[in-house]
């Protein structure tokens, strides 16, 4: 599973992307966030304010209950500010 980070989420985590293999009990985005948060203080800081985080699964915006599977491309980022 490939995980991408953007903007200040990327800065806090410290990497732009990483390959991870969470255990089978990680079934959705909320579970993945909890599991990633334990990986490093940077991850913990990035996900500390869960309400400030948005996510995408395979390049589609997705909510906390969205399922995640091996092979997915998952992205975490702040609310978008384009235009």
């Amino acid at each position: 599973m490939r995980v991408l980070y953007f903007a200040w989420v990327r800065q806090r985590v410290g990497v732009a992307e990483e390959e991870v293999s969470p255990p089978p009990e990680v079934r959705d985005l909320a579970g993945l966030v909890a599991w990633l948060s334990a990986r490093s203080p940077g991850h913990a800081a990035a996900f500390a304010q869960a309400r400030q985080i948005r996510a995408a699964v395979n390049q589609e915006f997705a909510g906390p209950e969205a399922p995640v599977r091996a092979g997915d491309e998952i992205a975490f980022f702040p609310p978008v500010t384009g235009g």
């Binding site: 991408l4 953007f6 903007a7 200040w8 995408a56 390049q59 589609e60 915006f61 992205a75 980022f77 702040p78 609310p79 978008v80 500010t81 384009g82 235009g83």
Partner: protein, 154 residues
């Protein structure tokens, strides 16, 4: 059948005149061409705006929004170009162009597109200031409201 929008995400500047010509040249069915260009302002001593985006998803998200505009209004053409990278004050950031037989369709779809680009395309703006400070632009609740007035998300 709705037209297919032209969507580009690029670092390079864009040319509104050339893009407008592409939507109207040789045609006699376009009654109105609406356009919007968003530019980088130098608020509060800002020296540059750095736009980060999500390659792949950005094009996909903008295309979906633009396709919805083409389905919702009777457009004869639609072009969206969004830049990323480092942009200095005065630099154009985004171009939205909509053409239709009817002026209201062109104007409304242009406003729809820029409202949704603000809230539905994965871009993040970092502000750089003359004193060396940096700051990520925070999403505005008013942008969500502006997009919401158009109904369901694309």
């Amino acid at each position: 059948m709705p037209v297919s929008p032209t969507v580009r995400v690029q670092e390079a500047p864009f040319d509104p005149a050339a893009e407008s010509a592409a939507l109207t040249a040789g045609r006699v069915d376009v009654g109105g061409l609406a356009s919007f260009v968003g530019l980088c302002r130098a608020d509060d001593g800002l020296s540059a705006l750095v736009l980060e985006h999500y390659p792949g998803m950005t094009e996909r998200a903008i295309t979906r929004i633009a396709e919805q505009a083409c389905a919702r209004w009777p457009l004869t053409g639609c072009t969206v170009i969004h830049r990323h990278g480092r942009l200095e004050p005065g630099a154009p950031i985004v171009l939205v162009l909509t053409a239709s037989s009817h002026r209201a369709a062109a104007l409304e779809s242009c406003a729809f597109l820029i409202d949704w680009l603000k809230t539905g395309a994965p871009f993040w703006k970092r502000e750089e200031f003359a004193d060396g400070a940096e700051r990520w632009v925070e999403a505005k609740a008013e942008d969500d409201l502006a997009a919401a007035r158009w109904g369901g998300a694309p």
